[in-house]
Amino acid sequence: MPRKSKFDKSKTCIKCKTARGNIVIRHAVYCKTCFTPLVVTKYKRCLDPHINAAPDGQRRSTLKASGNLLIGLSGGLGSTVLLDITSRCYFSTKSSTEDGRKGGKAHPKNDRVWKQASVCFVDTSRAFSEGVTKDRSEDIRAMVEQHKEFEFIVLRLEDAFDISWWKQLGGYVPSSDIRANLANEDLVITEAHLQSSDPVASLRSYLSSLPTATAVRSSINTLARLLLLHTARSMQCSHLLLGTSLTSLSISLINSIAQGGGFNVLEESFEEWTPQIARSAQDASSDSPHLAGGVCTVRVVRPLRDIGMKECAAWAWWNGLQVVGKDRTFDPDGKQTIGGLTKDFIVGLERDYPSTVSTIARTCAKLAPKNEPDGQCIVCERPAQRGIQDWKSRISIRSLEPPSPHPPHVASDDPPPISLTPHLCYACHTTLISRSSRSTVQNGAEASLAPLPVWTRSALVESDAADVMGTKRLVDHEDMRNAIGEFLLHD
């Protein structure tokens, strides 16, 4: 039976029009020689316009970033290719790196786009019980160390619950442990005396109190993203690069919309993130301090977002890149989560209708939220809309329960309960509370008292939530200025 051809006309490369083609990319045929500049051009077309702090229409001005560079590396195909192309395009110092130790990270090359560059790997191996997942950080270290120009940093997912990590970064953490009751949608905050300060235990407790496998997976992504962003900020990075390909971008766009993240769909492809610590610092002081180094905003760029997984695989193979592999053990078949189902769908679509996937990404890029953002979500630190509760109560079919009584260990003369809900975006609220028939949580309030990531705790204390708490602000501005003092510059 005749098979529909996957390429347009001939097997000859459409670029040089002489060589025999080696690869079909969305119906177009390229030879190996033309493939390399094709990928590099797509990469630079995506990243270069975001490098200089101020946009310039003429484009030809020198590329110079306002801060350093951080590359997020998962060990997967996309980020492995990202690291390779970034190294070639912006840090190619092959001859000078060989002589002497100084040739690498601290090489005083003034024409460099970024002064310093680091690669950060977030290890998730301790998210679940020991032995389930292998810690691959040493394999990944060996791979990164082939690139002398990059410093290698390992973060652990449990750092999101590690007070000492947060303090190193200049964050403020209250002395009491703040937990949220995930058993009802008000997400009432409970302050307890510091119980367990073991970050691994807190991480596992947080993940195990989430309602669904989908919620666990998207929370792991959010925690890793915030660990990278806060690390980037602390290292005065103006740019965080992620290895999201066209294929994985389309997956995360559909996935995000399916999980209520439609308001933030643009952030899935490009994002400018200002840490809450910078926002609060500006609120806290009338003499408008700047963060040290002048970097307040981290741009999250995904330079591979026009490059499909197939092109990434071909790049890796033709350049002899070793792909360590990504941790997939927490969702081995991907069948149980919205993310896994979306992935199967998009990858199948890409094989059978290769142009459709880029249409998804382009269509989503045109979506714009109807309303202006109204603050920042304190879990994912993305723009949030106000009034989630009102809206949800209007569209949901459910039986209303009477307001929940105070948690048993809160004394009755305490101020009224504080809800986390007004400080969340729609997607995070849904992640924390949505039930499914395959709920992973046992009923019972104790199991649902979840520890919160350090930045969320910090934000709860610093934000107006403290005012809502009624009696006192948990920290005054002077304390906070002391805590973040080293990041402040006075005029």
Partner: protein, 125 residues
């Protein structure tokens, strides 16, 4: 390390002595090697024609190779390698360094010395 391992050699036990044979080199990459004894490079030999239903035969093609690999070399989780008679979506196949989509995909007729590479793209970003 997978690279330092010698090639493993296999041949189809059904091969008769004087029938023409097709020696091939098969490579797995991108994590697929984990399904094949964590071995990236394999040398195999297939017959030049294979049964094709109703007593007829056909020249050995990649569709046959995929089925042969699934039956003979795959150690675990066939669903991560095959999807019906072809490979699972997300696996790039190269025939002598060229995208198999340029070569007729599964219908490509194998020739002695061909190098067939299977690369998984499913390890994400």
């Amino acid at each position: 390390m997978p690279d330092s391992q010698p090639d493993s050699s296999h041949s189809d036990s059904n091969l008769s002595q004087n029938e023409p044979k097709i020696p091939l080199r098969v490579e797995f990459s991108g994590g697929l090697e984990l399904l094949f004894s964590n071995q990236r490079s394999h040398r195999i030999t297939l017959p030049s024609t294979v049964p094709h239903g109703d007593g007829t035969t056909k020249p050995t093609d990649i569709t046959y190779l995929i089925d042969w690999l699934r039956r003979n070399l795959l150690k675990e989780r066939a669903e991560l390698f095959t999807d019906g008679a072809t490979v699972r979506p997300g696996i790039l196949v190269l025939v002598n360094d060229s995208d198999w989509e340029l070569e007729g995909e599964g219908d490509y007729q194998l020739r002695p010395g061909d190098e067939i590479v299977f690369i998984s793209t499913l390890h994400g970003g």
